[in-house]
Assembly symmetry: C2
Homo-oligomer: 164 residues x 2
């Protein structure tokens, strides 16, 4: 079912993902979907959390590098699925188990780096990654230029939030 939803989005963009369009693709009556999903929000949550499951989680290395790698990997995952980024914006982030796991990894990394206000730092970094991916997704810019500017500003933020 998530695969079918992804296919609908891939073909027609996020706007094309309606309950009825998904039902059409599955060759099923529209209300049959409600046996698998509470409502449309639930469907979108599952779809987004599924994508977050593919974010690579760095292991080992220095804490600062790990945080940088985690945010870059998140950004790249989002940029690789431009049609879904708008949905992340609409529901600022995500709420499923994969999102929770990524949040915990990020928090642990920030604590290891020694930032004084971990929740604030997390918020800044998530806004930064999703925001950049969103501008990439909707834009006419050469893709490489934005990726470079993402990395640079990520480092500004990490520099600023690191004590000493």
């Amino acid at each position: 079912m998530l695969a079918a939803a992804r296919a609908v989005v891939a073909e027609g963009g996020a706007d094309a993902l309606s309950m009825r369009a998904l039902a059409r693709r599955l060759e099923v009556a529209p209300n049959a979907l409600y046996s698998h999903v509470a409502d449309k929000t639930d469907l979108l949550d599952q779809l987004l959390d599924d994508l977050l499951g593919t974010v690579a989680i760095p292991t080992g290395g220095d804490p600062r590098g790990a945080v940088e790698a985690l945010m870059t990997s998140t950004y790249e995952t989002l940029v690789g699925h431009p049609e879904l980024v708008g949905l992340f914006l609409a529901r600022q982030g995500a709420r499923g188990p994969n999102a929770v796991r990524l949040g915990e990894v990020l928090d642990a990394g920030l604590a290891a780096v020694g930032v004084p206000d971990v929740p604030a730092a997390r918020r800044v970094l998530i806004i930064h990654a999703i925001g950049f991916a969103a501008f990439d997704a909707g834009d006419v810019l050469p893709a490489g230029a934005t990726a470079h500017s993402f990395t640079r500003s990520l480092r500004w933020l990490l520099d600023g939030m690191t004590p000493g």
Copy 2:
């Protein structure tokens, strides 16, 4: 007409702003709106640009302080209208004359500060302001805490992009 649109949004949130709901409030047939507006996107663009017209533009002072004041003023304007922030996200930024004017002021400020890559710096700062406002709008956090964390991270970014 924009006033009526604002009233609909104020009462029922951004989701409540449909062409038909707006027509209902104006006591007019739904299609009558198309004499004043090309389509719904056009309506939203007018609504958002109207809001941007209320952003205070700093005059005088040192360039760095002016950029900081401009972004803070933008952030505060957005936070003051949480129901509209989601619309900014959906169409990353805005396109009307007020948006263009703010962009020019920002570019001039960044050039005065001496940042090497003005378009990249502008992108970073706009993402930061809209992103923070969006998280504020949808969240349970104490409002003051987020405003403080906005200012702090804004300074990190400005520090990073300033040469020397």
